[in-house]
Amino acid sequence: MTGRTEPSTSEGSAPTGGGRVSRRNFLKTSAAAGAAAAVGGSAISTNPDIVAAQEQTDREIVHGNCWISRASCGQAITVEDGRAIDLTGVDGHPKASGGQGREGTLCSKGVAQLDKTYNPNRIRQPYIRKDGELQSASWEEAIEFAAERLEQFREEHGAEKMLRYQGYPLTDTHDKLFQRIYGAAIQVGRKTTCHGPFSDSWGWMGGYGREWPDWQNSEYIIAWGRNPMECFRGQWEPNGILDARKNNDATLVTIDPRYTKTAQKSDRWLPIEPRTDGALALAMGHVIIEEGLYDEEFVENWTYGFEAYRENVEDKTPEWAEEITDIDAEEIREVAIGFARAAPRAIAFPWTGIAYQGNGFKNAQAIHALNGLVGCIDHEGGTRHYRGPSLSDPHAERGIELPDAHEDADLPDYDDYPYQRHIRNYSHNYVPTMVEKGDIKGYVSNWSLPPKSGNTQEWLRALDEMELVIVVDAFWNAVSKRADVVFPDSSQIEQPFLGSGGDSCYPTRTWVTASNAAIDPLWDTKPAFDIYKELAEEMGYGEYFPWDSEEEYLDEKLDAVDMSFDELAEQSYALVDEYGYQQYREDGFNTETGLFQFDLAPNESYAALADELGVSTAPEWQPVDDDIYGETTDDEYPLLFTDVFVEQISRGHCQALPESVEEYLDRYGRAYDDYEGNYLHINPRDARPRNIQTGDMVRVESRDDAIELPAHVYEGVRPGWIATVNGFGEGSVHPEEAGANTMTLNREHHVEPVSGQVDRNHPVEVTKAGGDGA
């Protein structure tokens, strides 16, 4: 279907564009939860009687789990007369605190959760597309419509042509319904939009899904292309790092072209020439081997391919790396030695800064190799193989066998794209071509927004082309506006939650955390579990969803740890099993050789690709080359542009929250501008010759496209390198789509060749767009 129109704004529940309607206005003018009353513009009640009455009402504190950045930080929510009015973190919570006896907190995004719940721009009722237009519908109508269309889709095209785009559902029934029962076999996950080069290289070298640092026990921390003081997964991370500095006198080193809050707390900030991280890591390896500071016992007994690694770093001196990385050779030497001396209580931890690079896989491999070299793998104060408790499967508990409708799907091969041979599914950037070829014809997702993750223009067209688009979401955006069915999800505090982990301030304990719905769902929204249950029933799969409520379903999950859902929700969290460090000593590494693999030769699929690309399977340095490892800057496009994270905004929905946007802007002193989008951070040395000043609207032009946004000129970014915060602009959840969608510059071929991950680095030129933009 083409030429989709946006939902009509005449509906009471359609976007109001009222980004300026505050929660306060909302709370004080809407009669009751569920009333679809007009919320904008009314007078604010400052009647002292109301204020006084508020102080006398009974309040209760209930639990929630913040899902804004999916870290599930435990919340203590103050509820008064059915309204959530305040919140903070749960003391001692594995994610929301620094540990036992420590007060729980929420970060600025977490505290803005009420802004999400009571946001007047939420999708407040179901919508279905009829006669080309999105129209409001009752739940009954919408469920019936969706079930019918899904059935029809499967008959015409086969369920395997339905793409499951991985989002952030609050329930696992999304995948159970669409993948196992319906048969939507294709999934695009976050490995090709967020962390593929980092986690694939880790997975193949170390055999765990993903490492995470044991912050609080460390003595030397290298934050490599990550900014954990701001972009953390729970309050335990910044607290763990500060604890390490206070209690262990730990050294903190930040490697980043940007001065972040992590750099602010660091002993050293190495503002590296972007995309040269692999060279720096090799030189550090060179020094560590030369100085005899590596962990011989670990290397000897637990690793594979050390000789190949040693050979590759033999001539990679700090002086060699200085030329490439623009980091002083002496400094490289000092950091390498400091890191190795502190080992095994040391961590070199890369993240999205590395994963976003076209040569990111190789760079990440060289960084992981350092951890192997000094033997800090799964060590106290080193990288940690965190585990979660295994919970029961409620379907199995009830003896219900779910079908595996997705298993025998006939899926297309795209062998001309090297990465497609060994990534689990398909690359995000490749989806539009798959749609064009007719291999994908439909789309289901839960809280996801792919057009901001890469190849934007083609993705927008592809969504228009799809025969059936079904979304569960809470805000209008490029996907929900293009959908055929929009199911309005409740926010986290309006539904039950169960989470388990995993990384936390309890490095030797698995844990569970849970909460009941703190308030009733607002308007005509429903918890995702209820949506999938009703949809399943309508599709004739009622037998697979016999639970009367989600609480009952979650209760059965907890059978494995002998707790009831209510009991856990009441206390917020529980620590479960204990497990030790250095688990490989018992289990080995889950790799081809059972060892930590410096050299990936044993991984046949990767070895074949490396052979084809003419690269080593061991860590080495691959510069960007305009061919497979990313585009280089030149006279025409002399600046390198990428996007970054700040604490105040997650990639998901914070752009829809006035509180979060205001704080992001205020962080750069721009809260009082009449502008609510992202700013381009640029060094004065680049801004001056271009006659650009803070607030000027600038045009960022790449070889493929251009975006416009205001400039923020400051010394905290490397000359030659410019950046902004992503998730704003065209198609975003911001009610006015304020700002620039950075991935407008991105095209299908901008991918890292091993993992298929979107390469988010683009050579650009910046010019003043004229006038005072801000």
Partner: protein
């Protein structure tokens, strides 16, 4: 001065996350684009790569000899005997903004009604005046703990009676406070000797 309440702030611990700011908004139900009782300043110094930032969480600091109070023509601003918290009687405030000129910290803010509102150390929620509220004796009295303190991710921000605050502070911070105990009721851990004095504040409305 033992009954003076004060804030404590440690720049070494603050990660500049703004949780304190949003918490203040949420607890006191002040919408965005409205008065901002607490805000973060990120002060940058030097040029790349010798660039440094300091983050400071700012609010009304309930000054010992409150300059805002001294200029107020209607005596709407009170320096409370009982706990040193500086409150506003909005019935007396005429919205002349004199206090904003006098306050060195940009703490005086005004609502849609044009009247002064600012941090009242969470003496109850809303309104921003705190006028006539019972005294804070201990951190847990007089309503809940300050929201900004409650959610400070790293315990960089604290509030309490000055004697308790000083007991927990470093010697240097305590000395510095004692030298100027006519000023803001704020005990700040030094960043480094040199850079601390250069932290400037800006007028948020400017």
């Amino acid at each position: 001065m033992s009954r003076q309440w004060a804030f404590y702030f440690d720049t070494q611990k603050c990660i500049g996350c703004h949780a304190c700011v949003v918490s203040c908004r949420v607890r006191n139900d002040v919408g965005t684009k409205e008065a901002k009782w607490r805000r973060m300043e990120h002060v940058g110094e030097g040029s790349f790569p010798d660039y440094k930032e300091t983050s400071v969480s700012m609010s009304c600091f309930h000054c010992a000899t409150a300059p805002c109070r001294q200029v107020c023509p209607t005596h709407a601003i009170e320096k409370r005997e009982r706990d040193g918290i500086v409150t506003v009687d909005q019935d007396k405030c005429i919205g002349c903004h004199y206090c904003a000129y006098a306050c060195p910290f940009g703490a005086c803010q005004y609502g849609d009604d044009g009247l002064l509102q600012k941090c009242h150390l969470c003496l109850g929620e809303g309104a921003g005046d705190g006028h006539g509220k019972p005294a804070r004796q201990k951190p847990e009295d007089g309503g809940a703990t300050a929201a900004c303190v409650d959610n400070c991710v790293t315990e960089a921000l604290k509030a309490g009676p000055i004697n308790e605050i000083l007991r927990e502070a470093s010697e240097e911070a305590a000395n510095r406070y004692s030298e100027s105990d006519v000023g803001p009721a704020l005990v700040v851990e030094p960043v480094t000797q040199e850079s601390h004095d250069s932290i400037e504040t800006t007028d948020p409305t400017g």
